[in-house]
């Protein structure tokens, strides 16, 4: 692992130690976040799968009913029959929060403009249309739930991927790099310390040697017969 390009100074060491502490804490937090998101995601995706299966089955039969209705009457008559719906669906959207991911929360309300269920006359339309539109109406709540669930799963999957990348980057790049750099600086500082010590000892020896030499010379000078 490559080390960071820094000056091996004590100040840099303190700075890097602080960064390492932050990185380790962030790594732990992100790891916890990822684990919890995966747990939530597994719960949701199972329900999503089951619900999609249900909706697809129900919708296929309902739409097949419309095909039958189309066969039994002309296109114009069908268009005309459905021209003015008696009901209306109003949804209100909120944002929920799963592990700081903003996911949609959809509530819906059906508004019936009239008491009658079918907006068309029974005389000009086929019976298939009645059952098909009744079936479609019964699928709608599930469809809206599916929309909410599937979007939530989409967003969670995206966020999980992002978080996993961050966790891995911290775990396998950032933290080893910081640790290695700290080790490098520490070794460099120790080396400097040792170098300094040897230099001091050497100087001391040299001074002591010179002093001893000087004293010797002096003694010899005093002993001279002159």
């Amino acid at each position: 692992m490559a080390i960071l390009r820094v000056n091996p100074t004590r100040m840099e060491l303190t700075r890097l130690k602080k960064r390492l502490a932050v990185a380790k804490r962030g790594h732990k937090l992100l790891k916890d976040k990822r684990d919890e998101m995966v747990r939530q995601f597994l719960l949701l995706i199972k329900r999503n799968k089951a619900l999609r299966q249900e909706v697809e089955d129900a919708l296929s039969t309902a739409l097949a009913g419309f095909v039958l209705a189309r066969v039994a009457m002309t296109k114009d008559a069908l268009d005309e029959a459905l021209l003015f719906p008696v009901r209306e669906v109003v949804i209100s959207v909120l944002k929920a929060n799963i592990m700081s991911v903003n996911v949609p929360k959809i509530t819906y309300k059906e508004i019936k403009r009239d008491q009658v269920f079918f907006p068309y006359s029974m005389l000009t339309t086929s019976a298939e249309l009645d059952s098909a539109s009744a079936k479609l109406a019964s699928v709608l709540p599930q469809m809206i739930e599916l929309a909410e669930l599937e979007k939530t799963c989409n967003m969670l999957a995206d966020e999980i991927e992002k978080t996993r990348r961050r966790v891995n980057a911290l775990e396998y790049v950032m933290i080893p790099q910081l640790e290695e750099t700290i080790k490098y600086i520490r070794m460099k500082l120790d080396e400097n310390e040792r170098g300094n010590l040897t230099r001091l000892m050497k100087t001391k020896d040299m001074i002591a040697g010179r002093e001893a030499n000087y004293k010797k010379c002096k003694r010899r000078a005093t002993r001279s017969p002159f």
């Binding site: 995966v38 419309f66 095909v67």
Partner: protein, 107 residues
């Protein structure tokens, strides 16, 4: 942000009109334009038939990461093509790394 729209071939989606949902018949290259227009026009949920969704997969992917609009593939009147389920598979694979949910279902 409180409307529901349905996009697809007109035969598949005409039924949704009876529920008071706005329908936008489109096929092929038009799907992309319609989806973009609806996304900017305050639609919170856009149901797209699978046939249409396959034609505009890139556009749908673009809206995947924002909370709204939710673009949901639904089967058309020719039954399901498996496009919607594929989306769920892709999600699982993206999040977990492997498709653990469908292993037993496929075999």
């Amino acid at each position: 942000m409180n409307k529901i729209g349905v996009v697809g071939d007109s035969d598949s989606i005409i039924g949704f009109k009876s529920l008071g949902i706005d329908i936008y018949p489109a096929t092929g290259g038009d799907v992309m334009k319609v989806i973009n227009r609806l996304a900017g026009g305050g639609y919170a949920i856009i149901f797209v038939t699978e046939q249409a969704a396959e034609a505009a997969a890139e556009t749908i992917d673009r809206y995947k990461t924002s909370p709204y609009p939710a673009i949901i593939p639904i089967p058309g009147n020719r039954g399901t093509t498996g496009f919607g389920m594929k989306g769920i598979h892709a999600n699982v694979e993206k999040a977990i790394g492997t498709d653990i949910l469908f292993k037993d279902a496929d075999n």
